[in-house]
């Protein structure tokens, strides 16, 4: 069964039609990578999944997004519960303006975990999962802003894992990082896919090849094709996919 099913999704900002009739199924506990050139709607697609998009003015969304067969845009859905289910790792890490510990504990706290002992456990477990624990265990009280950008991104991953999501959405999660930090994040994501459904958006083809189980190609707001990694990278059906993957000009 698919974890996320997108059917006929259309998104426009004012007169700008960003996503055109996108339909895509995202399998459970796999890494699905959405590739495509910059500015073609990849981020919009991610943000429409956890309804972050509707925070912007003048956005129109139609079509349906089902998670576990339940519509995300159903008016009865509690949007905070929905977003808790889907962690988001953004392009540039934005830690919260508080200590390292509080960054990870923020999510569990707002969802009702108060006990110090429990919070300590959650923080340690998730910082370990994100591969940051050894580097920060002696300075959990220092500001998150004092970490390097690579560490900040891993902190954001730990923060996202701390609310026990089922799905992790990643928007170019490594493009602002140095190669070493980028590799760490990638390795962590590959380890996490046994427990989580992961959707990664990127324009970096090498990264897509390394990470992906499934691949979708978006071009100018349309989902051109999608399928297993082998099918897309070795045997693309659409001429535009072939050109993008082989690095030829698509004009």
């Amino acid at each position: 069964m698919y974890h996320i099913t997108i059917k006929g999704l259309n998104v426009s900002y004012g007169n700008h039609h960003v996503l055109k009739n996108v339909s895509l199924e995202i399998p459970r506990n796999k890494i699905t990578v959405i590739i495509g050139p910059s500015g073609c709607g990849k981020t919009t697609l991610l943000k429409s999944l956890n309804r972050l998009l509707e925070l912007q003015e003048g956005v129109r969304i139609s079509g349906s997004v089902l998670v576990d067969d339940e519509s995300v845009y159903d008016p009865k859905v509690d949007v905070t519960e929905l977003r808790k289910k889907m962690g988001l790792l953004s392009q540039r890490p934005y830690p919260l303006p508080m200590s390292i510990f509080d960054n990870v504990a923020y999510g569990p706290r707002i969802h009702g975990t108060r006990k110090r002992k429990k919070l300590n456990e959650i923080v340690e477990k998730n910082l370990r999962a994100a591969g940051l624990w050894e580097e920060v265990k002696d300075r959990l009280k220092s500001p998150a802003a004092s970490l390097s950008i690579g560490q900040q991104q891993r902190l954001c991953l730990a923060r996202c894992l701390a609310v026990s999501p089922e799905i992790i959405l990643c928007d170019e999660p490594t493009s602002a990082l140095d190669p070493f930090s980028a590799q760490k994040i990638e390795e962590t994501l590959s380890e996490l896919k046994t427990d989580y459904t992961i959707v990664v958006v990127t324009h970096n083809l090498r990264r897509a090849r390394r990470l992906a189980d499934y691949v979708g190609f978006i071009f100018l707001g349309e989902l051109i094709e999608h399928g297993g990694k082998k099918d897309i990278f070795e045997n693309p059906k659409d001429e535009r996919t072939r050109r993008y993957i082989s690095g030829e000009s698509y004009l």
């Binding site: 972050l52 962690g87 919260l96 707002i110 802003a145």
Partner: protein, 282 residues
């Protein structure tokens, strides 16, 4: 030397000159007040209230005005903060449309420009309607009106600089708008809020016109919100208005006390806000 280099040099000289004028006037103000007022500044000035005949050169101090000014300014600043935060939050995209927010911002800018005597007269009219007399309460209300637009706009400016992604980070964890505003955004703008408080407090404690009718003046320290209250700006004004040189000297001493209060508060808040600045995400 070509023209572009001349241009460069001229501009540099102008910038330094302008900076020097500002620093120079700050030191000139402090210098004049120090020279004229330091002689009259004594322990009794700050530990005693004005006794009978104080304004004729007899003994006493301005403790009533010091305490009065602190009551008024702290009261008004605290009240303004309580009202300003919700207003400033309300102006953000999460709550109202950009157009509505801009209309409110324009009104606040107009209010900022309103001379303080207008607030004094307005407050006085309201008090007459309610049958109140000049009092600490009246003064606090008038000063709050004066400080509100300053504080709201100052907080609003820093709120608008909060990166959208930072708020999104909080929303993606399942936070509500309230949690995002009060637990994340407020921490991010804490240094800005402290600056806003200082800005408003400075304006409030130094203002004479708005409290002239609303707070009144007295030689005593008020014991309730409904008692009239003295203030340092008015103490300066009344002492300066006497024909006695020794009382005029005390006016400078009172001005010096006012200046010291504002300086102390500004410096301590700077130190205070530095502790929070470390947490701010850039």
């Amino acid at each position: 030397m070509n023209l572009r280099h001349v241009e460069e040099r001229c501009f540099k000289v102008l910038m330094i000159a302008a900076t020097f004028i500002i620093l120079g006037s700050l030191f000139a103000v402090i210098g004049v007040i120090l020279v004229k007022g330091a002689g009259a500044l004594s322990l009794s000035m700050i530990t005693q209230t004005s006794k009978g005949g104080y304004y004729l050169g007899k003994e006493g101090g301005v403790l009533n005005a010091i305490v009065g000014s602190l009551y008024l300014a702290f009261g008004a600043t605290a009240t303004s903060l309580l009202v300003s935060l919700p207003i400033a939050f309300c102006l953000q995209r999460e709550y109202v449309k950009a157009r509505t927010a801009n209309v409110v911002r324009l009104s606040l800018d107009v209010l900022w420009g309103v001379p303080s005597i207008i607030y004094g007269v307005f407050g006085f009219t309201i008090m007459l309607l309610l049958g109140l007399r000049a009092s600490l309460l009246g003064g606090i209300v008038a000063l709050t009106l004066l400080e509100l637009p300053i504080m709201v706009r100052a907080i609003d400016e820093v709120l608008q600089m909060v990166p959208r992604e930072l708020k999104e980070a909080s929303y993606t964890l399942g936070a509500t708008r309230y949690e995002t505003m009060f637990k994340v955004v407020t921490r991010q703008i804490l240094p800005g809020i402290i600056s806003a408080i200082i800005l408003a407090f400075g304006r409030g404690i130094g203002d004479a016109a708005s409290i002239l009718f609303t707070a009144g003046y007295t030689d005593h320290i008020p014991s309730s919100l409904l008692d009239p209250v003295a203030s340092l700006p008015l103490a300066v004004f009344f002492q300066m208005g006497t024909p006695f040189p020794e009382v005029q000297e005390r006016a400078y001493a009172s001005a010096l006390i006012l200046l010291i209060i504002v300086l102390l508060l500004t410096v301590s808040s700077r130190l205070f806000s530095r502790r929070f600045a470390k947490f701010v995400i850039r």
